[in-house]
């Protein structure tokens, strides 16, 4: 969190920043945190999900196709959260 604190300190100390500049600096430095935080949960979730799917496929190889389809569905739903974090990152950083 040091970067955030640093940014806040910079923005507060340097009073000659315009509002747009201050917003840009704050946005740029919080963008990385936004994406990093958004990636934690889905990372754990996808790891767990794929691990369980592999276990299921190893136990019952004949149902591998069905498990795979369901696994992709689950990955898609879980991954959406990380991707929304990524979009927030883009919005904070570049817009």
């Amino acid at each position: 969190m040091s970067a955030l604190a640093h940014t806040a300190a910079t923005v507060l100390a340097a009073t000659d920043y315009t509002a747009a500049e201050a917003k840009g600096i704050a946005g740029a430095s919080s963008a990385g945190f936004a994406y990093g935080l958004a990636a934690i949960g889905p990372g754990i979730g996808i790891g767990y999900l794929v691990g369980q799917a592999v276990q299921a496929m190893a136990r019952q190889p004949e149902s591998a196709g069905q498990v795979q389809t369901t696994m992709f569905l689950g990955i898609a739903f879980t991954e959406a959260l990380a991707l929304i974090g990524f979009v927030v990152f883009i919005l904070l950083k570049f817009v």
Partner: protein
């Protein structure tokens, strides 16, 4: 080269675009046009022949499978018939062998019986001959013994012994001797 590229870059009008929000209407317009055209083309032009062929192939596969299973049943039937014929033939052969065996057995026992009967008859005849010969020999021996004994005895007593008188004694003795033999 770099000058050309710089000139190219300078020609690009400075228009800030949003990387996330779809603010270029043209992209949506052409994208929608392309997608819905593709959908319509696939729906009405491109896919029907392929789907028809697939359905036909499925029909064919089903028909072929049916034919194959029919042929299989037929083959099974043929096999069963053949097996039935085979079993029949085998039991027939068994029966024939059994009949032949019984017949030969009867023949054999008959032959044995005939042979045994003949043998028994021959033995009977031989026994009768033997008995007759023995009785004859015995009678002859009886006469010889009596005369020898009388002559011997007359030699012993120095007198003629009458054969007729001592006949009974000799007979007794011979009988005893033949009895004890």
């Amino acid at each position: 080269m770099i000058g050309l590229l710089a000139a190219l870059a300078a020609e690009v009008p400075e228009k800030v675009i949003n990387p996330v929000v779809p603010d270029e209407i043209g992209e949506i317009f052409w994208g929608a046009l392309a997608f819905f055209t593709l959908w319509a083309l696939l729906r009405y032009v491109c896919l029907p022949p392929l789907l028809k062929v697939r359905a036909e192939r499925e029909q064919q596969v089903l028909a072929d499978q049916e034919a194959a299973s029919a042929a299989e049943t037929q083959g099974e039937q043929v096999r069963r018939d053949y097996e039935a014929t085979l079993a029949e033939a085998r039991s027939e052969a068994n029966r024939i062998v059994e009949v032949a065996r019984v017949a030969s057995e009867a023949q054999r026992s008959q032959a044995v019986a005939v042979a045994e009967a003949a043998a028994a008859e021959e033995r009977q005849a031989a026994m009768a001959d033997l008995d007759a010969a023995r009785a004859q020999a015995l009678n002859q021996i009886k006469g010889d013994v009596a005369s020898i004994a009388i002559s011997a005895a007359s030699k012993v007593v120095q007198a003629d012994l009458d054969l007729a008188q001592n006949q009974s004694t000799i007979d007794d003795y011979v009988n005893q001797a033949s009895g004890t033999r």
